[in-house]
């Protein structure tokens, strides 16, 4: 079976119907375990005090803000190359999730930064790239809303997505490119020496799994909605032509 079979809207909806209840249940379980463990059962950090508990929201949200854009990039390229409508609609469906994750990352970063760095905001490379990514998300959603022809909207938003990917990459790697700035390096890495302490690491893994599952669940749900909205528009257009 090929992955391209899911480009068939009927098949996509049938699969989404089957997967969604399980995905939603797993999302709720992972988020509940991760957030309750992280908030109630982890100690204060010796330097950061209780603000360390913000890591369980900030890190997964920031990861998903970037990964959502990466997923939009892949689906946008698939649309441009292969013209699969489900692909373009999946990118459209992911944008509101990505912007929500970006907002959470920006807000939790600000309230964490104020007591630790003494400032809510700094024009640090990673923070600035993240703010620009947020603006790209806004522009992307505005462009979809502004253009009536759905294929033209998909074309233009795909190009915007490719351009914005520079900032998605920058928000991930800015701390490696530039040494100046307040933001520290990665909290998680395949290199065990760079990771946070185990007492925070395990609940953080649950939170990251929860945010990934939340993203997958919402993308499936919202793509299914977009396919139905497209079908409604097609049927109404057919009615109008027949009248």
């Amino acid at each position: 079976m090929s992955i391209w079979e899911y480009a068939n809207p009927v098949r996509f909806i049938r699969t989404a119907d089957r997967v969604l209840p399980w995905a939603a249940a797993l999302t709720a379980a992972a988020l509940l375990v991760g957030l309750i463990w992280g908030f109630f059962f982890t100690p204060d950090d010796y330097r950061q005090g209780s603000t360390v508990k913000i890591i369980f929201l900030h890190v997964p949200a920031a990861m998903m803000a970037i990964n959502a854009w990466a997923m939009m990039l892949v689906t946008s390229i698939i649309w441009l190359v292969r013209r699969h409508h489900v692909s373009a609609l999946a990118a459209k469906a992911a944008a509101p999730i990505g912007i929500t994750m970006t907002l959470i990352a920006l807000y939790t970063g600000a309230v964490w930064g104020q007591p630790m760095w003494g400032t809510w905001w700094e024009w640090d490379p990673r923070l600035t790239a993240f703010l620009i990514l947020f603006i790209f998300y806004l522009g992307y959603m505005a462009l979809w809303a502004a253009i009536e022809n759905p294929d033209t909207a998909a074309d233009l938003t795909s190009v915007l997505c490719i351009v914005g990917s520079v900032f998605a990459l920058l928000s991930r790697y800015a701390v490696n490119f530039w040494n100046q700035g307040l933001h520290q390096g990665a909290s998680l890495s395949l290199d065990a020496e760079e990771n946070v302490h185990d007492v925070f690491y395990y609940p953080l893994l649950f939170c990251i799994a929860g945010f990934i599952l939340l993203f997958v669940t919402l993308v499936l749900l919202r793509t299914r909605t977009e396919i139905r909205a497209r079908r409604i528009a097609a049927l109404l257009a057919r009615e109008a032509r027949a009248a």
């Binding site: 109630f40 509101p96 007591p115 919202r222």
Partner: protein
């Protein structure tokens, strides 16, 4: 049960409150629009069947 958050209680609690509100809002909006589109599509398809289109 509530952990002792000390002098950073406002920052930590507001981070959790805002994040949970944003996620809950996104989930609620997604579910609401999903239900609305499903209902509308069913009605339109029903109308098409009745009119033999």
């Amino acid at each position: 049960m509530m952990p002792e958050l000390g002098k950073y209680a406002v920052e930590v609690l507001s981070a959790y409150a805002v994040s949970i509100l944003l996620i809950a809002g996104l989930v609620a909006l997604s579910l609401w629009r999903s239900a609305r589109m499903r209902r509308e599509l069913r009605q339109i398809e029903e109308r098409h069947r009745r009119n033999g289109r």
